[in-house]
Amino acid sequence: MLKVLLLGATSAIAEATARRYAAQGARLHLVARDSERLSTMARDLEVRGATSVTTAVCDFASPFDAAALLDSANTALEGLDVALLAHGVLPDQTRCEQDLAALRAAFEVNTLSTTSLLTALANVMQAQGRGCIAVIGSVAGDRGRQSNYVYGASKAALEVFLSGLRNRLCKHGVQVLTIKPGFVDTPMTAAFKKGPLWTTPATIADGIIAAIENKRDVVYLPWFWRAIMMIIRAIPEKIFKRMNL
């Protein structure tokens, strides 16, 4: 029976993934900031077939003790097979151009809290010599665009961090998975106009589970984003800087 830790568990993608694991009878430990949503979700996952569901409240926008958080997760789950880091914010780009506090807050949640958690997790996983660390990045991290380079940079930093961590942990039998979803219809993107490139959290969850099972390193979800981003990355900077993206 799989023991799964979900950080940012109430995010739409994490919840969809948790439901897949619950149907498999996994043990789940959920960490998020909203206790009402955590308890609703815990009952739901139990009905869906999870062997056990435990929860902890933590706001990753404020200082927190990553080691203590992992300790209690490890105790609740009696071990750790998969950790999914799914918390994140989509900052208002124009506001971040004027307001340094907003800029810092975005990096605090998306980058600093995640790398703190990853550091603590890496030590646990390295010691046990197995497991999977999966992190939600973004296609936005592949290239900075004027419309959301703050968000993109906060996710791009993760990508480099994860590539180093993967290099370190692969020698210890630990999988480090970078997940790069494209446009997903979630509360975080509620304000956006949806088109044919958009997908659902459930589709992303299927992709995450498959990528973990298949021991992948970096996945684009859905797959066609790999091609789209390859093209976007190939545009010379001289041209790219003049585009309205």
Partner: protein, 433 residues
């Protein structure tokens, strides 16, 4: 954003609120001064879920409690019937009443008090609902049942979301030993044979007839009567089909006369050939169209109308004949038509099913098909029948009042719970509710 029902007619510019928690839902209600209507998967066909402000309930899709010994389930209104089956079937339980698609929410199934192929034995969906938790106009949350706030329960089950917002419900499940149905198909060359077979086999658990309404003369009303029984053996597999999608709006001629007539002729021939009993998975039996995502696009950009009426037993045969003659006289075709016998109705104020025959037809939306529906409505009213609110996009207030004699009582209950003017849809405005 532009919003419409499953028939894609009519459409309306709407602000769609999508709360993910009960607290957020209460906030939406408190901060929206205009009237609003709850919406689930958008599978009602006409304008029942359309308003300038809608509350999309699909993110409130959590299970609350499941007693696998007693077969009782409590969940939030946004859970779909397919999702419920995926959870309860492996543990030997089933939903006692299933409509033609699993892609409806629990809240929508209660609000429309949906029925299935077993109505003649088992009644409609709400008859397995023990209680409903509603968010009322004043922001309070109230649980109602047949014993507590019974007036609210009987107005809300079948009440099309006009009494408040259904946030959760408790229901009773039916025990099964496997997830398969033994299906038998019986070909009937004309309407009288179809009707005779429906009556002759009413002991079967599931009975429904596909009807070819596009034939005239001797073949008018030929059909395939489909019988179903829960199978004796088999596993408890859930629906694992990978649906195909209709990627874009098809041209309007696709479901025009030639294709519709050819499709119905093939369907009849296939049914006539496969008279033996065969075993099918519940998903293929109850939800054949769920294997094709966005099938409503087959009708093209202009959408379609679905007309479903129930005709009391006394004049049903005569009324059916008049309806079929009106359809052929109009020159329009119905790609898919279904006929079934209902059992007795229930105590809800606006529930659709009542003793008699129910006929469902689809027509591509046009001025002609709207005019045809008016003629059909007149035939239905003249024979003491009524139309299904979950399908309706066009009936008049007079047709509604003639078919639903408890409408005034319904309004009194709405007034008591201060729902008048607070919860409203394009449909409720059209019907004078």
């Amino acid at each position: 954003m532009l919003s419409s029902g499953w028939g894609r007619y009519p459409g309306i510019e709407t602000t769609a609120h999508q709360p993910a928690t009960r607290t957020a839902l209460c906030r939406v209600l408190a901060s929206t001064p205009a009237s609003l209507i709850a919406r689930g998967m958008g599978r009602s066909y006409g304008d029942a879920s359309l308003a300038a402000h809608s509350v999309v309930m699909t993110r409130l899709d959590h299970f609350i409690a499941f007693d696998a010994e007693a077969g009782t389930l409590e969940c939030s209104a946004g859970v779909t019937l397919s999702a419920i089956l995926a959870v309860v079937v492996p543990r030997g339980w089933f939903l006692p009443v299933l409509p033609g698609t699993g892609f409806v929410t629990l809240g929508g199934a209660i609000a429309a008090d949906v029925h299935g192929k077993n109505h003649h034995h088992d009644g409609s969906f709400s008859q397995y609902v023990d209680d409903i938790t509603l968010l009322l106009a004043d922001g309070s949350i109230l649980r109602c049942s047949r014993h507590e706030h019974a007036d609210l329960f009987h107005a809300s089950a079948g009440g099309m979301g006009l009494t408040g917002i259904i946030v959760a419900a408790r229901l009773r499940l039916r025990a099964i030993t496997n997830s398969y149905i033994d299906e038998r198909l019986l070909a009937a060359p004309d309407l009288d044979t179809t009707l005779a077979l429906l009556t002759q086999h009413e002991q079967s658990t599931y009975v429904v007839a596909w009807l070819d309404v596009n034939q005239s003369g001797a073949r008018r009303g030929r059909g395939i009567v489909m019988l179903g029984e829960h199978a004796a053996t088999g596993g408890l597999e859930t629906d694992c089909r990978r649906p195909l999608s209709v990627p874009l709006d098809m041209p309007a001629w696709l479901l025009g006369r030639p294709v519709t007539r050819a499709f119905n002729a093939l369907y009849y021939a296939r049914g006539a050939r496969n008279a033996d009993s065969h075993r099918v998975h519940y998903a293929n039996y109850f939800f054949p169209l769920d294997a094709l995502n966005d099938w409503n696009r087959l009708y093209g950009r202009r959408g379609f109308l679905q007309h479903q009426c129930v005709l009391p037993p006394a004049g049903a045969r005569e009324a059916l004949g008049e309806i079929l003659r009106s359809v052929t006289a109009s020159g329009l075709v119905s790609p898919l038509a279904v006929l079934k016998g209902f059992g007795a109705g229930n105590d809800n104020l606006l529930s659709f099913p009542q003793d008699g025959l129910t006929l469902t037809m689809d027509f591509a939306h046009s001025a002609d098909s709207l005019a045809l529906c008016v003629r059909l409505d007149d035939i239905v009213v003249a024979h003491g029948g009524r139309l299904y609110l979950a399908k309706d996009a066009a009936m008049s207030a007079a047709t509604f009042r003639a078919g639903y004699p408890h409408w005034q009582r319904f309004q009194e209950v709405r007034e008591k719970y201060r729902a008048l003017g607070r919860f409203a849809s394009l449909q409720s405005q059209r019907l004078g509710l």
